[in-house]
Symmetry: D2
Subunit: 190 residues, 4 copies
């Protein structure tokens, strides 16, 4: 089983990158093949129907699509911007939606979030469910929002500072991987 | 009263540009000073916290902010992408939210949409309400979604092909302008 | 495979009951064991935490929970009320959420809708995804909204009046059942 | 100016009732005429189109409608159930929406929430914005979610335990009342 993990933030010091790294580490410890990607490696312009008509998906979107298609399951750690899906993630979704069939069809996706705001990033997760579902992803019902992002991580970034939350994350990753192993498209009987 | 009208699409032949133009024309006929803007004039990169920290709002976002601050009320005709807010509009919102106080604070905003999809663009409108509210805009409760975008406009683009819908749009614009005249910040008693 | 089908409307002449009946018929024709339930058979009061604390789930909620647990997959045809999940369905979800573990955990759910409104009931579907996901249901990414409910059905109610839409519904039901057969909890390897 | 304040919970010991009481007290201290209502006084059955067709709005919904129409502005403290609008509140909205014109048309509404969950009740607020807007309410852009409900209140219930949050609430109430005084329908020039 191959897992693709990415934070939906372009900021180098993003808290969600830390969260994605912990999720990747937990998945590796369960024997899964993990790719921890950097969203910056998939640069793409703001979606513009004229660019799309003229030249199709930009290179960054094509590269992201290829990584998604190669994966059996996906974990996204997403910021919440203004109570909603962050623009860079929505932009990637809008570009990916221009490939048919959608590269995301049938892919199990787990959504995580960390935020300094009052709501633990949960509104970003909720808003992201809708367009991801539209492009055929099977967004996992459970998710995890980690509040107080600035103090949520151990000093070495290897784990969440709160033990109970770290256990919850480990358990969620395990449950998601079990699910992914059962339902991932590449695991379907021929 | 000054009204700022814009379609939240970068595509030159956008149906939402047609809808924005009709809305602008209806407002002008009511004696309001209208600016019908082209979203392409406010080009900005995908939101990136590092760019934000280094150089602040890009020129396109600053220019858009200035137009918004100069207006008493705003009309946005928005596409719906993947059952949600279109990335270019969310991106503009995310950049604008980095200016404090938000340039949108207290501004009455009317949301319109046209779409070729089954849902008349209403899910784009609904998803857009949330982040616009977060940055302090007073999103008008009523809105209008125009379905079957490809056949929704008269040949000269001067009106909606369906008379009843054109009347509904005219009435909505009138009602919104009356409301805007009462509540717009620049109209507040000193 | 056992499929539970229900319209989330209490009204006897509900268009969504017609839609649920067509969905049930399509599933039966594919050899699946189908229960087409009437939401009125699961009467329950408005959720009240004091009733919950005193007497737990009301009989109607218990009966609905039992039907859900006995099913491998679920189809809900839902009205849209005021751009959101209809109160009777949200009420059932809120009561079901008080049973632990949730009876809906891991259940594949397909959402359909019909509406006389402009948006084909899609906002009801979208709003319903969120609480259903919260109680562990695997809401199927694809869904179908049928507009113009008053004229959407054949005179005998056996099919959608529009052939293309009927084919789309048949294809969606088939695709969902294939998926359900693969992932339904009762089909998991021991 | 008359303000109507209510918690959207039927539970007697509801944390949101405490929050509503504090909001009411803050508004009174600003010289506003306040009605602090108990949601239990507006009992109504689960929405059923057949009841609606036969007998129209039930007494509880009529009484609630009358209180809303008599008010210049409204404050609702709402629980979050399953990441969404609580069924009892959605049920009231669905019943109110059957009166034409909607009793909520043009009414400024401020949404507050308290919750024991990770997200401070913000998803309940967000989900509630949509149907309230649909029935014409002017949902105030700012809102306040209070997390850790069990420890959020002073022992006597007179204030939020956290001073900063209490100040934020007081400031929000003040700002909302100023806004309401300017825009409330009954304050419109003749």
């Amino acid at each position: 089983m191959r897992l693709f993990v990415m934070a939906a933030s372009l900021r180098r010091a993003s808290y969600n990158k830390k969260l994605a790294a912990i999720a990747a580490s937990l998945a590796k410890s369960k024997g899964v093949e993990v790719e921890l990607a950097d969203f910056r490696d998939f640069a793409m312009p703001v979606y513009d129907g004229d660019i799309d008509a003229a030249t199709g998906l930009p290179d960054g979107a094509r590269a992201l699509s290829a990584r998604i298609k190669a994966a059996d399951a996906i974990v996204i750690a997403t910021p919440e911007y203004n109570n909603s899906v962050p623009a860079p993630l929505k932009n990637a979704i809008d570009w990916l939606s221009r490939e048919k069939p959608y590269p995301t069809i049938g892919k199990p996706v787990l959504l995580l979030a960390t935020s300094s705001g009052r709501g633990a990033g949960l509104q970003g997760i909720t808003a992201t469910r809708i367009p991801l579902s539209f492009i055929g992803a099977h967004v996992y019902p459970s998710s995890l929002g980690v509040g107080s992002a600035a103090t949520a991580f151990s000093d070495d970034g290897a784990r969440l500072a709160d033990d109970e939350l770290q256990k919850k994350l480990a358990s969620l990753i395990g449950e998601f991987l079990d699910h992914g192993a059962r339902v991932a498209p590449s695991r379907a009987p021929a």
